[in-house]
């Protein structure tokens, strides 16, 4: 399997949310649902402050915990590229199964929306674009070139093998397909 993954340069992210909004626009995602989320990380006391952003979407884990807990098998991992996809129509909805996938995911990725019975949806690695040989829309949109996506091995050759970042913990048992350039905290 040629596992696909993401790279995120946290030192470059200016928190413009372009990746997240471009994703919403491309996939036509409703309000209060975000396939790509931005976490704002603020720390320190005036005037010694730290601020960073973490842009995160489904990490298409090698061992996805969401797949194991889904009672109806709505989530699958593709053989050829390891992309984790959800068949929303199969999903029972957030109330009936008590959002088991969301609870299993340490990164709060599965999205149901605010309405009752909302079906799970999430990043599909822009499959439609991928099939046309195009880059994911979040990577294309980032004005800071802080995001990249592609075969994880190739990303490692380009960016090294650091996996953790501020606000992101790497779980060995899930093996999320992500590389980071972390923004270090240097609060004196």
């Amino acid at each position: 399997m040629n596992q696909m993954g993401f790279y995120f340069d946290q030192t470059r992210c200016i928190g413009c949310y372009t990746c997240s909004v471009a994703c919403k626009d491309w996939h036509n995602i409703p309000e209060k649902v975000n396939w790509r989320q931005i976490k704002v990380l603020e720390d320190g006391k005036f005037p010694n402050l730290y601020l960073a952003y973490l842009s995160s979407s489904c990490y298409h884990c090698k061992e996805p915990p969401c797949i194991k807990v889904c009672p109806v098998g709505a989530i699958k991992k593709r053989e050829k590229d390891g992309i984790v996809i959800v068949e929303s129509s199969k999903c029972l909805g957030n109330e009936e199964c008590d959002s088991k996938c969301l609870k299993a995911c340490p990164y709060d990725i599965p999205q149901f929306g605010p309405e009752r019975g909302g079906k799970m949806q999430k990043c599909d690695f822009c499959l439609e674009r991928l099939e046309k040989g195009q880059q994911t829309i979040c990577v294309e949109a980032c004005p800071m070139f802080a995001l990249d996506a592609g075969p994880l091995d190739e990303l490692k050759d380009k960016y090294g093998d650091v996996v953790e970042a501020e606000g992101f913990k790497y779980f060995e048992k899930f093996k999320p397909s992500i590389l980071h350039k972390p923004k270090l905290k240097n609060l004196d």
Partner: protein, 686 residues
């Protein structure tokens, strides 16, 4: 329908609406003259052709209108740029940042305000190359946090004091570039005497500035030395600190600091100033390049108003306080009323000493009520008019007050050409993507019809859209192929090397003087000195004002209000998009020190108020703002409850409708107080 501002509208046909508009214009023109018609233009929904342009051209043909001077964004920076350098073209190409040894982002937050699409990326690259970047800002902005190595918080409105103290260190330690000063500038001695205290017995030492700015004297000294020694260094002076009372002084002080260190006209340096760089944005209406420099006696003056001239102003003497001897600014020197005085002008008219009695407002491309200071006075003023027509896509707070709202289409529903805002070597062709939605029409289509109803017999606007665009772009010789631009959607201009402002002047001064009256950089500006106004000194000076931290009213309203741009909208455009609202819910930023004094916790619903108004929004208690300041990002839509309390959080409910002699809008110079709202229930504002 209903009373003005009640928001009750009735749908009528285009023909009926335009008949009504034409009849009102004719009636008011006949009864009161053209100057009773106020054109309220804005930069929204604007291209080279669409937006305000066709409206202005049409109204010129019926004898003109009253217009005003001053741009809230940059008037202080513009005045200072013209006074110091005689031009707005003072910026270097962004890629040149990589040649700097030190970059200072003074009150400049390009991570949120963009300043050309590649700016943040070039700054990130510079930092990754090891170039030190310092941010001076009352807020720990995204730029300070992500692009800078060091953040120096400063008390709002005291930037001039800090810059002058930096000059003090540089001059008193003999770190200034005396050769440069001798060759290219005038008036250094007068500035030196003020800085050293020879003029007023107050040396502007770092200790003097520490008390004012809340920056330690040591930090000021270090920054001054770093800036003077690490040459070339780029001091980029943002426009925010110039949007203050006497904001011209801040911009002038920044320009002078760049000058005395000789960081001008060289790679890696920066002149501050207005910061426009490569630019071919010749004035659209004149169709010819408006050269900078002093007016000369043989400069052609037309005998009659041309298509591009507003007949109401035509031939009038220039405003005394304007820099009317210089070409190349954005303000016609003969307009009388400042934009931040227009509510008074409407309310008081001729009896109050204003040049005209305004009877109607013709508003296009702007949510003006929301985006200009003192909204409550604005409501009163606009309600007092006989007639208001507005061109809009949305029912904005300004549109709410109109008699007729005309649905104008968007840039996606017509063809147009866009020019980079601040100057970069490219053009954008906005190909029409879809037909106009519903019954909306383009500005051009509307003006074509309205022109007929106004009995205009022949007009440029009679031509088809494409032909007008070709006419408008023709004077721009750098568009080598209109067809290629249209086909690709953009045209990149080939430039030999990145633009460096004043390179020609520095390399060959004899051939290329600066476009000022003296031909040199004016540290002391004679043209300003002629005005003999102590509030507009010929050298940059630190001045206090009646809503400064040290003013008597600060005892009652002790917090300085900042109203910067927010990343999730452009001014008030896009504020009504739920996707973007999610990104950063609107709130007032307050430091925990100030919040705890008032028993305010993060997320509480609070009232922010002064004598001009009151708003009710949630509090964001954050370390990211200096104590003593609060921040309400401008652009949220005014939404008053029955008591007039603004539940929308429009910053301009609190700002002041006055202006500095050079034209600066004091958008960041309002004092306010904050308290928990009476019920502290967030549902109140939802």
């Amino acid at each position: 329908m209903g009373n003005r501002g009640e928001g009750i509208f009735e749908r009528i046909s285009w023909d009926e609406a335009l008949n009504e508009v034409a009849n009102k214009i004719k009636e008011i023109k006949q009864k009161h003259g053209n100057s009773a018609i106020l054109l309220v233009p804005g930069g929204g929904n604007q291209g080279m052709l669409h937006g305000i342009i066709p409206h202005a051209l049409m109204l010129h043909q019926i004898g003109g209108y009253t217009r005003m001077w001053g741009a809230p964004s940059y008037e202080g920076a513009l005045f200072a740029s013209m006074a110091t350098y005689g031009t707005m073209m003072t910026g270097n190409a962004r890629e040149d940042l990589l040649n700097s040894k030190l970059i200072i982002m003074w009150g400049w937050n390009p991570a949120n305000t963009i300043w050309d699409p590649g700016t943040s990326l070039w700054l990130a690259k510079a930092r990754e190359q090891g170039i030190k970047i310092v941010s001076i800002d009352p807020i720990f902005t995204d730029s300070a946090a992500v692009l800078a190595d060091e953040w120096i918080p400063i008390r709002p409105g005291t930037d001039t004091a800090a810059l002058i103290a930096i000059s003090y260190v540089i001059i008193s330690e003999n770190l200034h570039d005396m050769d440069f000063i001798k060759n290219y500038t005038i008036g250094f001695e007068k500035f030196r005497d003020y800085v050293l205290g020879l003029e007023d017995d107050q040396p502007k030492t770092p200790e003097w500035a520490e008390e004012i700015t809340m920056i330690s004297a040591e930090t000021i000294r270090n920054l001054a030395r770093e800036y003077a020694i690490n040459k070339p260094a780029a001091l980029i002076a943002g426009w925010g600190p110039a949007r203050t009372a006497f904001g011209e002084q801040y911009s002038r002080a920044a320009n002078v600091l760049c000058t005395i260190t000789g960081n001008i006209g060289i790679n890696g340096g920066y002149a501050a100033g207005f910061m426009r760089s490569y630019y071919s944005r010749e004035r659209i209406l004149t169709g010819s390049k408006k050269k900078s420099g002093p007016f000369k006696p043989d400069d052609e003056t037309p005998k009659r108003p041309r298509l591009q001239d507003n007949p109401v102003d035509f031939g009038a003497a220039p405003r005394e306080e304007s820099l009317y001897k210089l070409k190349g600014g954005t303000n016609p020197a003969n307009t009388r009323i400042h934009y931040n005085d227009y509510y008074n002008a409407i309310l008081k008219g001729c009896k109050g000493g204003y040049p005209t009695d305004i009877k109607m407002a013709y508003i296009a491309g702007t949510n003006r009520l929301n985006q200009f200071p003192n909204v409550n006075k604005g409501v009163k003023a606009l309600k007092s008019l006989d007639f208001i027509v507005i061109y809009e896509q949305f029912m904005t707070p300004t549109a709410q007050l109109a008699d007729i709202v005309l649905p104008v289409n968007t840039f996606m529903e017509r063809n147009d050409v866009a020019v980079p805002w601040l100057g970069a070597p490219y053009y954008i062709y906005l190909n029409k993507a879809i037909d106009s939605l519903y019954e909306s029409k383009s500005d051009l289509e509307i003006c074509k019809e309205l022109s007929k109803k106004l009995d205009i017999e022949q007009s440029l606007l009679d031509l088809p859209e494409e032909q007008i665009l070709k006419l408008f772009t023709a004077p721009r010789k750098d568009i080598k192929s209109y067809n290629k631009m249209k086909r690709d959607g953009y045209f990149k201009v080939k430039v030999d090397e990145p633009f460096i402002a004043f390179k020609d002047q520095i390399e060959d001064f004899e051939k290329n003087p600066f476009p000022t009256l003296s031909g040199k950089i004016e540290i002391y500006c004679e043209h300003i000195a002629e005005k003999n106004n102590p509030l507009m000194p010929p050298i940059p000076k630190y001045l206090t004002h009646d809503e400064h931290y040290d003013s008597p009213i600060a005892k009652k309203y002790s917090l300085q209000l900042l109203t910067p741009h927010n990343k999730r909208r452009t001014h008030s455009s896009l504020h009504n998009i739920p996707w973007l609202e999610e990104i950063e819910p609107h709130a007032v930023w307050i430091n925990p020190v100030d919040a705890s004094k008032r028993n305010i916790n993060n997320g509480d619903l609070v009232d922010i108020f002064n004598d001009r108004g009151r708003m009710r929004i949630p509090a964001k208690v954050t370390e990211r703002i200096i104590p003593g300041a609060v921040c309400v990002y401008q652009g949220a839509w005014y939404n008053p409850d029955k008591d007039g309390v603004d539940l929308g959080g429009c910053a301009n409910i609190l700002t002041k409708d006055v202006y500095s002699p050079g034209g600066a809008f004091p958008l960041n110079s309002s004092l306010v107080e904050i308290e928990l709202s009476p019920n502290n229930k967030l549902e109140e504002i939802q």
